[in-house]
């Protein structure tokens, strides 16, 4: 307010003067005598509705005219808001930038991303700060690289350069943690002049709807301003990639595997997207069109056949949907070298029937990377101590005749991750003696049926069947029959799962996890004559042989772990406290240190996490929440329930700059009040002068046009 102008506030009662005059004039309304009412009666000149309210409207217009004129002259103004916004003096400002995946979407009315608008808004805010004021930037999804700006600073250049470097993540932010970090920074800034918290976000409900903080949890009581970056509405539904993984078995060169990709359609109509796959051994991407039903999930299996051992990655991404933040996944896997299979016995004796051929048709691992070796029982101990094979196959007879040392070695071998198959010899006719206790199974007497009976699949959900299981969840092994077999008596505590049964005998083939390895026991031999079963002569037998050799339930199968962006890989299995992370593809994070201090991975990537001797493939998945199109509307933000805050809309930095300038300069009401006064002056003029009168005046000299008769003097009367 201009000094001296306040006197006009004392004159405000003058605005009531029209009311006073009105009352006085009302008393003095004159009565006019007239000679006749014959013209009045015929025309019914009653007061119109407008005319009845004309005087009150005139009175109101005149009163408001005076009122706004006096207010304009009083030079009223809203004081500068800079101190409230934390932009004045030595005040502090903490800027929270939403760098979650949803910010890659377009801002309403523009092609720009929401993150870029938020960045420019924050830049504008920083530029309008007093140079003495401290500021800090807090990311909604914390990034390891942001640590160096963890405190308040007056160095605007570094803040601006950091702001420029912010990249969108693929994670969902934690609004509570971000606000706590921000308010703690403000509290610790001890600026004396107070401070403010500015949040630039799209207010996605996944992050901001649920109440997470109470007012008493917030250090201090900062002014909180939320700058909402409005989201452009997408006409296309979002297809979210929920998961992508390769086979859980050991992966060997030249073996066919399936890369499973799980998609979810968040929209309300069926939608087709293009699924691209590219791996480390093929530079050309393969494209598959996939249609996903509305609101449902779809599992897509893509072929994968590595050629060389080593660390590999597969990049899978989709195109054509409405949101890009959850459209890619990087999958790492380790392809091992050729693996040995130790058959305990003589090749020439045909003890194992068609099994060696099923595991390695060429016998040298050319097609399956599995190399069969036939060893005498007495050498198995020394060979296992020299080299760890993929699989050890021995007969029930040999298993029953193991010496204590060999039994212990085999036990340790499987405990550490080896696979073992125990089966009857093709020529076996009687059940054997006592098998080692750690085997957890023993054979019943041989059972021969006069007519072959079909084999039936048990435990269809077992991962053993994962390569055979159809999309409907059923496992079909064709028409395989059995004529003679040893029923297997499975130990109750051994943890076996029957895989094949016949007649009333539930377990002719069973699998169990033993330590980190697996043990498969069979009650039927795999001879080529069909005296035992027709299963070995069927194609399905080739498929069944693979999980027996490569592991279906073993821990030491291809170890891969998935985490969602925004999490730290602190729960990975491994020995010791040290951990190192190596990037194969995606967001570059090469780190080593204590496992408990491992960094939060905020973007998708394919990593190898090494702990001790153990390597784990680590996939960072995009957050499945970020593609959801629900945003907090209005000014009530659930995450800030009970905490005073203001909400504004930020669509471009120029408007924001104008708003800040107005806030910093204060808002004067001189012009608005003056305009209002002029408006009411015009209204008073229009009401005070009837429209017809104006019309008449506009006609110039209408008297001569009325055709009135002349008086005796020859003059027209009017």
């Amino acid at each position: 307010m201009i000094p001296g102008a306040s006197i006009f506030l004392y004159l405000l009662p003058l605005a009531a003067a029209p009311v006073l005059f009105h009352l006085l004039m009302r008393r003095q309304r004159k009565t006019v005598l007239f000679s006749t009412r014959m013209f009045f009666d015929s025309m019914q000149p009653r007061l119109s509705f407008h005319r009845k309210f004309r005087e009150p409207l005139l009175l109101a217009a005149r009163t408001l005219l005076l009122l706004f004129l006096l207010l304009a002259l009083a030079r009223l103004a809203i004081p500068k808001m800079g101190s409230v916004l934390g932009l004045g003096g030595e005040q502090a400002v903490v800027i929270v930038i939403d760098n979650s995946s949803s910010m890659v979407g377009s801002v309403e009315g523009s092609d720009r991303t929401k993150l870029s608008v938020a960045q420019e808004g924050a830049r504008t805010l920083l530029k309008n700060m007093d140079p003495r004021g401290k500021a800090a930037i807090v990311l909604l999804v914390p990034e390891p690289g942001a640590d160096r700006f963890g405190g308040m600073t007056t160095d605007r250049d570094s803040l601006l350069s950091f702001l420029q470097a912010i990249q969108p993540t693929e994670a969902t932010g934690d609004s509570a943690k971000a606000l706590l970090r921000a308010t703690t920074l403000l509290e610790n800034a001890n600026s004396g002049g107070g401070g403010a918290l500015h949040v630039f976000t799209d207010l996605q409900e996944a992050e901001w709807k649920t109440p997470v903080l109470a007012a008493e949890d917030m250090p201090g009581s900062p002014q909180i301003f939320v700058h909402r970056v409005p989201t452009a509405e997408s006409t296309l539904p979002n297809i979210c990639m929920l998961r992508a993984s390769v086979s859980s078995r050991r992966i060997l060169p030249n073996q066919p595997y399936a890369l499973e990709v799980l998609l979810r359609n968040d929209g309300d109509k069926d939608f087709q997207v293009r699924v691209h796959r590219k791996d480390s051994e093929n530079s050309v991407a393969e494209v598959t069109n996939v249609e996903v039903g509305a609101g449902s999930q779809k599992l897509v299996k893509l072929p994968l056949q590595p050629k060389a051992p080593g660390r590999h990655w597969v990049r899978v991404w989709i195109e054509g949907d409405g949101f890009e933040g959850d459209n890619r996944i990087f999958v790492p896997y380790i392809c091992e070298k050729k693996g040995d299979i130790y058959f305990v016995g003589d090749r020439a004796a045909g003890t194992f029937g068609l099994l060696p051929l099923a595991l390695s048709p060429s016998g040298d691992g050319r097609y399956t990377s599995l190399v069969p070796n036939f060893l005498p029982l007495d050498t198995i101990k020394s060979r296992l101590q020299q080299k760890t094979p993929m699989l050890v196959v021995l007969t029930w007879a040999d298993a029953s005749s193991l010496d204590e040392g060999t039994s212990a070695v085999l036990d340790q071998y499987t405990q550490r991750g080896g696979n073992m198959l125990v089966l009857p010899a093709v020529d076996a006719r009687e059940s054997t003696g006592q098998a080692p206790a750690w085997l957890g199974a023993k054979l019943a007497p041989l059972k021969a049926v006069p007519v072959s009976v079909p084999l039936r699949v048990a435990n269809e959900s077992s991962s053993f069947w994962s390569d055979i299981r159809g999309l409907d969840g059923r496992v079909r092994i064709g028409t395989a029959f059995v004529k003679q077999y040893f029923a297997i008596s499975l130990g109750q505590d051994a943890g076996y799962a029957a895989l094949l049964g016949a007649n009333e005998d539930p377990a002719l083939l069973a699998i169990r996890k033993h330590g980190k390895g697996q043990i498969v026991v069979s009650g039927i031999a795999f001879g080529r004559t069909g005296a035992w079963s027709t299963l070995p002569r069927q194609k399905i037998f080739l498929v069944m042989a693979q999980p027996i050799a490569l592991g279906a339930v073993a821990n030491l199968s291809n170890e891969s772990v998935s985490i969602v962006a925004g999490q730290a890989p602190r729960l990975l299995p491994g020995e010791g406290d040290e951990m190192s992370i190596t990037t194969l593809l995606g967001d570059q994070v090469d780190w080593s240190g204590l496992k408990n201090e491992s960094p939060i991975l905020v973007r998708g990537g394919a990593y190898i996490a090494t702990m001790g001797q153990r390597e784990t493939c680590l996939t960072v998945l995009p957050s499945e929440l970020e593609g959801l199109s629900a945003f907090v509307e209005g000014s009530e933000i659930g995450a800030l329930e009970g905490i005073p805050h203001g909400v504004g809309t930020l669509t471009n930095e120029d408007d924001f700059q104008d708003e800040l300038e107005q806030s910093l300069a204060g808002t004067g009401f001189y012009v608005p009040f003056l305009l209002l006064a002029m408006a009411f002056l015009m209204a008073e003029g229009l009401l005070g002068a009837p429209a017809k009168k104006w019309k008449d005046r506009g006609k110039g000299d209408p008297d001569n046009k009325r055709g009135l008769p002349s008086t005796n003097t020859g003059e027209e009367i009017i």
Binding site: R29, K30, T31, V32, L33, F34, S35, T36, R37, M38, F39, F40, S42, M43, P45, R46, L47, S48, R51, R54, E55, P690, K692, K693, D696, R706, G707, L708, P709, S710, T711, N712, T713, I717, I718
Partner: protein, 296 residues
């Protein structure tokens, strides 16, 4: 004479002096009366030739036109119009509405009285006789005819005693006047005629059909014609004394249109009936008003 007249309210000496040269005639032939300056409907001894007629037994021999006899060998006589003096019957409206005064210097009643006095003076001054009849919704007072200035005095004094009151009914009052006035004469109606024109014209028509030479002085206050008031006013009507709130600004255009229609109706109606119609407002000079009548 001027000094005597100076004592009358409605005929001051200055006005009488101005009226001395005025003469008011008639367009219709009047009935026989005293010898005068106006044509009669009968044949007489004036100098104005009327027609030839074949001589009939009993006609005076001195009226035979011997020149015609010499040319045609027929006895014909020449006939001339008779010239008589006339009686002017002045019908003055004294209803309440005549007391209205707004823009003029006098009320319609005063103006009407001035006009009646002047007319009576002119008529007597030119040798005719006159009388005065006041009316509202009926004939109120009929004065004795006057043919001399001395006889005019009661009429002039009577004008000063008029007090406007009552509602007017021209149809009824003029019908009564038609019955009352015998023969053919000059009838001058002075009124504001503020009633339905159809009824007014019936009264005028009755007078015209009776053979009178009718002149209508339609006296209005300029305010009645122009409606000069502004804004929201309360109007009180003279004849009924009831009131009405009116926004003149919104009402004026319609009012002016109506009064224009009304005046047209009256003017055209009077002309059609054969009456001489003159619209006068109360600001008009009396002499000018009479001059217009005299020259019409």
């Amino acid at each position: 004479m001027a000094e005597k007249l100076n004592t009358y309210k409605y005929l001051p000496s200055r006005m009488a002096d101005h009226l001395g040269n005025l003469q008011i005639g008639v367009t219709k032939r009047m009935d026989v009366g005293l010898q005068g300056r106006h044509q009669s409907s009968t044949f007489g001894s004036s100098v104005e030739f009327a027609e030839y007629r074949e001589y009939m037994q009993g006609d005076p021999i001195e009226r035979i036109d011997w020149n015609v006899y010499a040319r045609t060998d027929k006895y014909v006589i020449r006939r001339f119009h008779d010239e008589v003096n006339i009686r002017a019957n002045i019908l003055l409206d004294t209803s309440e509405s005549m007391s209205y005064k707004n823009m003029g210097s006098m009320s319609k009643m005063d103006y009407g009285c001035h006009l009646a006095a002047a007319l009576m003076y002119v008529m007597v001054n030119q040798g005719d006789s006159t009388n005065l009849i006041t009316f509202d919704d009926d004939l109120r007072k009929v004065y004795e005819p006057a043919a001399t200035f001395g006889a005019l005095r009661p009429l002039l004094q009577g004008l000063e005693e008029i007090e406007p009151k009552g509602e007017s009914d021209l149809e009824k009052a003029l019908a009564k006047a038609t019955e009352f006035i015998k023969g053919r004469s000059l009838v001058i109606v002075i009124s504001d005629m503020l009633q339905d024109p159809r009824e007014t014209l019936k009264g005028i028509g009755n007078l015209c059909y009776a053979g009178h030479d009718v002149t209508v002085f339609h006296v209005l206050d300029p305010a009645e014609i122009r409606l000069p008031q502004e804004g929201l006013i309360e109007v009180e009507f003279l004849e009924t004394r009831d009131k009405m709130n009116v926004d003149i600004g919104e009402f004026r255009d319609l009012y002016l249109q109506r009064i224009r229609e009304y005046l047209d109706d009256v003017r055209i109606g009077c002309t059609n009936e054969g009456a001489n119609y003159l619209l006068v407002d109360t600001t008009s000079d009396i002499h000018d008003t009479l001059l217009k009548r005299a020259t019409s």
